[in-house]
């Protein structure tokens, strides 16, 4: 089931939390709303759920499978919502929490208690909580609570699933496991899902599509590959991973980085954005394309080698390379080297980080 948001604006007093948001979550996709805190992503999620109102400007609408749901009662929307801190019913057991949505059904929709039991036990098995059904939320670990919240949302057979910072409150190990588990489960049940996160790694790893938000606006929308490799602006570039900023100019198709002593024509001056893994370090300045810098710290522990440098202008530069590549020169702290960007992105100058 596809979800569509059209022209949504939200104000809290004079503060504009969301400004004319348009986005679509295609059927069966796992979509990430990615942005720093205060970017409006949780507000947007709550508006889609129906927990929050929005400004009634013309054209403002929320559609499920092409049909507007704005007038619908919340209970009729059948949206599965997983809250940031789970919001489990503390006086109900795991079983009671998951069964809740089925027990409050009235009339024709009501299931027999045996049918409820069957479905709840199936969900408990799905989220790997077998044997814990009589525990109370405060007797569970964070990861277990998260899975109860998920099972509870799935119990009502929602049309789609909304998750607010689903892994925010967990430690990194549990988070990684749960992330992969959620991705697998999504691949199995193919439920359209939208989740909010401020963690770009989480979004890149988990999502089919990423919506990058900032200050109540959508900066870019696309697949993880698109937003990572073709960022539309400096904000997206910066938010999706570490990035180095250089000033310089382009002369007959070649990049010349600015260094102290060489003052370029101001009109030609451009800002170059370079990811840490797209920089090479060389001992000699062949072709004059490099920028002199001093090595401040080399971190060898990990899958890749991370090198921190300072330029002559005292700017920090981050470089990442494989252990094989590092083995060629084996730079040490204090070594003077030259920084050569292999790939850089230039944005129009109307924007700043």
């Amino acid at each position: 089931m596809s979800v569509e948001v059209r022209n949504i604006t939200k104000k809290f007093g004079s503060f504009v939390a969301l400004e004319n948001i348009n986005l679509t979550a295609p059927d069966g996709d796992l979509v990430a709303l990615l942005g720093p805190s205060g970017s409006g992503k949780t507000t947007l999620l709550r508006i889609i759920a129906g927990l929050e109102s929005f400004e009634s400007v013309s054209g403002a609408d929320i559609l499920f499978r092409g049909v507007s749901v704005v007038g619908d009662r919340l209970s009729e929307r059948r949206v599965g919502f997983v809250f940031q801190h789970y919001a489990l019913f503390r006086r109900h057991t795991v079983y009671g929490n998951i069964a809740f949505g089925l027990k409050v059904r009235r009339g024709k929709e009501r299931l027999s208690s045996r049918a409820i039991r069957e479905r709840v036990m199936k969900l408990i098995h799905l989220v790997q909580l077998d044997g814990l059904e009589l525990r109370y939320p405060d007797q569970l670990s964070g990861g277990q609570r998260q899975r109860v919240a998920l099972a509870r949302a799935l119990a009502i057979e929602p049309q789609f699933l909304l998750l607010d910072e689903p892994f925010g409150a967990l430690d990194s190990r549990v988070r990684q496991n749960l992330r992969r588990w959620l991705r697998r489960m999504h691949d199995e049940i193919k439920l359209t899902s939208i989740f909010v996160t401020h963690d770009q790694e989480e979004a890149l790893e988990l999502a089919d599509r990423i919506v990058v938000m900032n200050k109540g606006r959508v900066e870019q929308e696309g697949t993880p590959t698109e937003v990572f490799h073709n960022p539309k602006n400096e904000f997206v570039m910066d938010f999706l991973g570490n990035v180095n900023l250089f000033h310089g100019r382009i002369e007959s198709g070649r990049v010349f980085l600015e260094q102290s002593g060489i003052i370029a024509n101001v009109d030609d001056r451009k800002r170059f954005f370079v990811r840490p893994h797209e920089i090479e370090l060389v001992p000699d300045n062949i072709d004059n394309a490099g920028l002199p810098a001093k090595i401040k710290r080399v971190q060898l522990a990990g899958a890749i080698v991370k090198v921190e440098l300072t330029s002559i202008e005292n700017n920090e530069i981050f470089v990442e390379m494989s252990h094989e590549k590092y083995a060629v020169h084996k730079f040490q702290n204090g070594d003077s080297v030259f920084v050569v960007p292999k790939n850089s992105i230039v944005f129009p100058e109307d924007y700043s980080i």
Binding site: F81, H85, A87, A153
Partner: protein, 270 residues
């Protein structure tokens, strides 16, 4: 060394203070009540007016407490779960009975429903008695005990927030299910605590009730008023103290229930 002596002194001082001002008077009531023997004590209740006072007290509390419980839950629910205009005014008003002297509270009802007023004339013409009758006692008691339940619930419900209720809404629950399955289980101990405090005050209230009662023996005397009448009047002594033991016992039972609730809450939180 001093750090060990100081706490001991302070603790002893506290116990002495409590003993002098709280335990001693309470003990005195029982001592006085039983001074002439258990038979005399029992005989004090062998009095039509005494029984009438007990019945009236139970009736008054029986009406005032449930009404304040219903209002208290509704008001606390509104105040903590919704945003609306005039919320702060409502919160301030709820505290009014705590701020106003009970005598003034009683007087207000006399002024509203008394004979001299427009209301009073209308009531008189329709043969409805409020002042110097049971309805007046109930009204005064409701006024005085009004804040107990709400005051107990608001901080509790504020702390719990609205997340569980929102989760229930998303799962398709209506207002009724949300209250009984989510909100009520979360507040039930706090509510019970508020109820027993409200009840203790409702049964023991003297000031406001005294003003609207008129002290008509066998008709408008609640237990506290009866005690005063008896003590001031002809059969002073044991009889007044015997009735006072009832209120004292009520206080002790209230404290015991309160302790049990607190103990249960603590155990649950562990």
């Amino acid at each position: 060394m001093t750090s060990k002596i100081a706490p001991v002194i302070l603790i002893l001082l506290t116990f002495f203070y409590l003993g002098l001002f709280l335990v001693l008077p309470l003990a005195a009531i029982f001592v006085e009540a039983f001074r002439k023997g258990f038979a005399v004590y029992l005989n004090s209740f062998n009095d039509e007016y005494a029984w009438s006072a007990i019945r009236l007290t139970l009736l008054t509390a029986g009406i005032a407490v449930p009404l304040n419980v219903i209002f208290g839950v509704v008001a606390a629910w509104c105040i903590t779960k919704f945003e609306f205009w005039g919320k702060n005014i409502l919160i301030t008003l709820i505290d009014l009975p705590f701020a106003v002297s009970p005598v003034i509270a009683g007087l207000v009802f006399v002024l509203i429903f008394g004979r001299q007023t427009f209301f009073g004339e209308w009531l008189l013409a329709h043969n409805i008695k409020i002042i110097f009758a049971t309805p007046g006692l109930v009204l005064a008691t409701i006024f005085v005990t009004f804040p107990f339940v709400v005051r107990e619930l608001i901080p509790l419900m504020q702390e719990q927030g609205v997340l569980e209720e929102e989760a229930a809404v998303m799962l398709g629950a209506g207002g009724w299910d949300i209250f009984w399955r989510v909100t009520f289980p979360n507040i039930k101990w706090g509510l019970l605590y508020g109820v027993i405090l409200c009840n203790a005050r409702a049964m023991g209230e003297f000031g406001a009730v005294s003003v609207v009662s008129g002290h008509i023996r066998g008709e408008t005397n609640t237990i506290p008023l009866y005690i005063q009448t008896v003590y001031d009047g002809y059969a002073a002594g044991a009889s007044a103290f015997a009735m006072a033991t009832l209120l004292a016992a009520l206080a002790l039972i209230t404290l015991i229930i309160k302790s049990i609730i607190e103990w249960k809450e603590k155990r649950r939180e562990r």
